[in-house]
């Protein structure tokens, strides 16, 4: 039977360094996916993934085991994403305009290759998610793409469950409005 996260944390604290690699492997993809879907920038998501693991393992002594390790790690990822957003807000506005213009050009160009409609729809949905208010975007990404329960999200965000559900409702409503012309 696979060791639980807390077992691995205890093993690390006992000096079994292999636990580090096991924990990193277990959450590598999810930490990256969370950062990527929130930021939609592969290089930055990669940086955040690495920083999150370094921070988590570097402060493992502070991990008290009351919450799950994944909750603790995802909270670090979320906070790093927020920090990045704060530092990049102005720069991102400029870049975003350039990206949107580029995407509009791509949309206007004749489609080539396999499944252009699907790819375009995916890009549109990605843009719509990116346009969501930060709080709604965090909840939508964690609930829909990370498949975390509302209670888990509430724990990560240190917010009441009712607030998390409200943010999800806001997110779905805004997505419905911004994508209403798409035919499923």
């Amino acid at each position: 039977m696979a060791a639980t996260d807390n077992d691995l944390v205890e093993r690390i604290c006992r000096g079994d360094a292999a636990g580090l690699a096991l924990l990193a492997e277990r959450y590598d993809g999810e930490a990256y996916a969370l950062a990527y879907r929130l930021l939609q920038n592969a290089a930055t998501a990669e940086d955040i993934r690495q920083t999150a693991f370094l921070r988590a393992f570097g402060r493992l002594g502070e991990f008290n085991g009351r919450a799950a390790f994944s909750t603790w790690l995802f909270r670090i990822v979320i906070n790093l994403c927020r920090d990045w957003h704060r530092s990049q807000r102005v720069r991102e506005k400029v870049l975003q305009k350039a990206r949107d213009a580029h995407l509009q050009e791509q949309a206007a160009a004749p489609a080539t290759g396999d499944g252009p409609e699907e790819a375009e729809m995916g890009r549109r949905v990605a843009r719509a998610v990116r346009a969501l208010p930060r709080q709604a975007r965090e909840v939508v990404v964690m609930r829909h793409y990370m498949d975390l329960k509302f209670t888990e999200i509430a724990e990560i965000l240190e917010t009441p469950v009712s607030t998390v559900k409200s943010r999800m409702a806001v997110g779905l409503k805004l997505l419905r409005d911004s994508l209403e012309d798409i035919q499923l």
């Binding site: 360094a17 580090l20 290089a43 995916g122 949905v125 509302f150 559900k165």
Partner: protein
Amino acid sequence: MSGSSETQMNCETVREELPALLYDELEDTVRQRVEEHLRQCEACRAELTGYRRAMHMLDEWSEVERPSQPRRERAIRPGRRGWRRVGPAVVGAAAAAIAFAVLSLLGLSVSYNEGRLLLTFGSSPDVRPGAPDEAFAEHLPALRTAVQEAMDTRIATLLEGLETDLVEIVNAEGQRQLLLVHALDQRRETDLRQFAAAVDVLVQRQEEETQRAQRFQADMMAWRTSMENRLPQTTDKQEPKEKS
């Protein structure tokens, strides 16, 4: 009073629960009350339809791009949507990279032997966490001597050559040339002195780096010791759980 009238939900309450209904997270009793309200309320049904539509549209964005890595389909943790396009090679390489980075930072040593990855704390006699720095430090005196010897030889050669040149120039072109060469001589010596000083600075910096690495290693060992001091309590508590 009937149970249904007691538990009647208004539109505002129902709409707060719609996301939980969509993601199948409502307790049975609450779900029944929400569904009962939906049967009677067209506006809330329309709201639910809109949410469901948005939820399905989110599935259209399934790609998770990783920088400069091939993408393959893999469901490492079924039900975790974020994993769907993450390939095993990517996961392995990234995990290994993380492990190596983290382990190095924590003063641990990593080696690969007969198909097995070996990870060891620094106290092992076979493992030297600060090996590169220590190795460099060991060779530092020899390196410094070699640099000094090379410079001495070079300076002597230059001076000999300059002396010979000087005699020839004095004979051939007179005092003006002599002064010019003297100036050049001074300039060369200055350059060599500056070069020697730069080498000293580099050596000094490397020594500082070595000391810093040793201090970091000591901190890590202290951290490890503190972790081990916490061990007896946690181990005792967890052992029965592991057996079960």
